[in-house]
Assembly symmetry: C2
Homo-oligomer: 353 residues x 2
DNA sequence: TTGAAAGCGCTAACAC
DNA sequence: GTGTTAGCGCTTTCAA
């Protein structure tokens, strides 16, 4: 009667209801629910299972976690969901979580220090088991504290240089090198690089570094005027392109270090009535679904985004479950990018994709 | 002493610790923490606040929620994170959640009925306050149950036709109409539509419906051979394009109902050595960052994705907080799409973007 | 103005 | 095999 009411007025059914209805104690229900079957009569088991099913009983994860101090939820803090690269990373994370029985909480830091701090705090209040973060790098004290507190977390994409923490990154030096080498092999000698302000952000610093190394190892010299550091404001990239293309020493190639930036560069070139690859060649960073449909099809540096996400999640879960045991998995993992050659460098059809 | 140990060996600090250290009871700490200040001595308040700060005390959200039966977490179930449309929706949802003090749990149904069911179940076990879902539509009994149980949820993008539930959608009939009308106004008469199998999925059905209506209201007849229903398998779109372009009654325009599909159509056209818009014109569904950089710049039907997400989250939160009170907010909201005219229809420069 | 105590739903010793 | 009990960390009457 009471039970039927529960269903009618839709009160939540708890373990006590199941216990009562099956005529056993809560502990018994709990045991059976958690697969601790070895010590129960087949009859009891069946009876309890039947009641659970009939009542459509769903154990309260809050209560469970409160007791066990384990939520099976991890968090991720990203900054630019809109960027294809990050949605791929997210997919990798999500897939892995699902396959490992974890839920995922997601937040957007928007590159703001305060938001990042709030989110981390919130995650900790929710007792999340761990955290994956593309850090703004604006809260060094915080990262340090997380690390000291042994809170399981993985920095993804961006390195925390002076902290001995777990990281999953892509080798950005090689990414830039392979792009520049390709341009040089295609006969280019005046190669410009476009990047957002490095500000201690490893992917930016390293792409610049790789750019320089590639030039130097080919006997080309690095010219400051070809290093274009642009802000993220609207139109800034196009302006820089315009100025560069009208300068006395116009480059014969541009290396773009960001996929959204690439589109703006393309726009800038078009606005100057110039054509790719005839007037100037171009390589973009990050493979995207649209790269091959641009005019001309774009040569890109491909980062294993999905794998990054998936690997970060796996590492984190490993960390969480091996808690205490100082495991011997490597702290820093660096994946390798690859070059997808299309027509924007003038070297047609070397690689059809 | 005990407290210092807590920090050293890093045990979690609880409300009892704060209480003890401040020399008050847990209730007092609780009150002050929750802004129930009116009934406390200024001295006590300051003392407690100071201890909270010193101990860096973070209230355990699990315990809190267990008591209050409110988690301030909502869930979202999506299927194609990779699609720009959905990452925009997600951003809208996330922003709104953050601004309203909610956390967000995210899952990928991958269009699989079983996964969808598992995720809903998991969300309920976690006591989430509500749910936003782009339903697979493969679990009608489940949606019905959610609705009957008065669980707060919003169906987004896809309609649940026979259920009286809250929905946020875009007017897909109008989206198709405006696209087709533009093609007709540009002098096209043989317009083909490409779509994935409708299968009762409203955006697909409605786009087809809008297509038909637009043709008919312009005195054009609907030809079955121009309605191309293609599967999502690799190469299927390109094959269909090839066949269509070689048929006796080649169309003079294609209306693509999906942004990824558009890229494949473009590829298919290119492979037949035909050019857009000279040989055939094209309108795509969903504005994307790359649309204007395609060759030629693509005319698209723009859906207010971010707004959809944001609105869905707002509605959901409203639902949650007005729980019980049958509020008078409309159950079904339909947003309007717009057309962004570029050059892929041959009508150059009517709208520069 | 503050404290004591019960209880949210579950788990895990420890009894029997 | 199964039940009893204590408590996870918090909120909230009810008393004082």
């Amino acid at each position: 009667m009471v039970l039927r009411e529960k269903r009618l007025i839709k009160m939540k059914v708890t373990i006590s209801d199941v216990a009562k209805m099956a005529g056993v104690s809560k502990s018994t229900v709990s045991r059976i629910m958690n697969g601790n079957l070895e010590q129960n009569t087949e009859g009891t088991i069946q009876r309890v299972l039947k009641v659970i099913d009939e009542l459509d009983y769903k154990p309260n994860a809050l209560a469970r976690s409160l007791k066990s101090t384990k939520t099976n939820v991890i968090g991720i803090i990203l900054s630019k969901l809109q960027n294809q690269f990050w949605s791929s990373v997210l997919e990798g994370v999500e897939d892995t979580c699902r396959n490992s029985g974890y839920n995922l909480m997601i937040c957007n830091s928007n590159e703001e220090a305060q938001l990042e701090e709030d989110h981390i705090r919130s995650f900790q209040m929710h007792q999340l088991d761990g955290l994956i973060i593309n850090p703004t790098l604006k809260n060094p004290h915080l990262y340090k504290k997380l690390s000291e507190d042994q809170f399981p977390f993985i920095a993804i994409n961006r390195k925390m240089y002076d902290l001995d923490v777990h990281m999953v990154t892509v080798n950005n030096i090689n990414g830039a090198k392979v792009a520049i080498q390709h341009l040089i092999d295609s006969g280019k000698t005046r190669i410009s690089i476009f990047l957002y302000p490095p500000d201690g952000i490893s992917p930016r610093l390293e792409r610049l570094e790789g750019y320089k190394q590639a030039l130097q190892s080919n006997g080309l010299k690095v010219s400051q005027s070809l290093i274009q550091i642009v802000g993220e404001g609207k139109g800034e990239v196009e302006d820089a392109v315009k100025k560069l293309l009208h300068s006395s020493d116009r480059p014969d190639a541009i290396f773009s270090t960001n996929n959204m930036m690439t589109l703006e560069i393309l726009e800038g070139i078009k606005n100057q009535q110039l054509k790719v690859p005839e007037d100037i060649t171009l390589v973009g960073y990050d493979e995207t679904i649209w790269a091959k449909h641009l005019n001309p099809p774009l040569t890109t540096v491909n980062q294993p985004a999905y794998e990054m996400g998936s690997l970060a999640a796996k590492k984190l879960i490993h960390l969480i479950e091996a808690k205490g045991v100082e495991s011997e998995i490597p702290k820093v993992v660096s994946l390798e990018p690859s070059l997808i050659i299309r027509e924007s460098c003038g070297s047609k059809l070397q690689h059809k994709n």
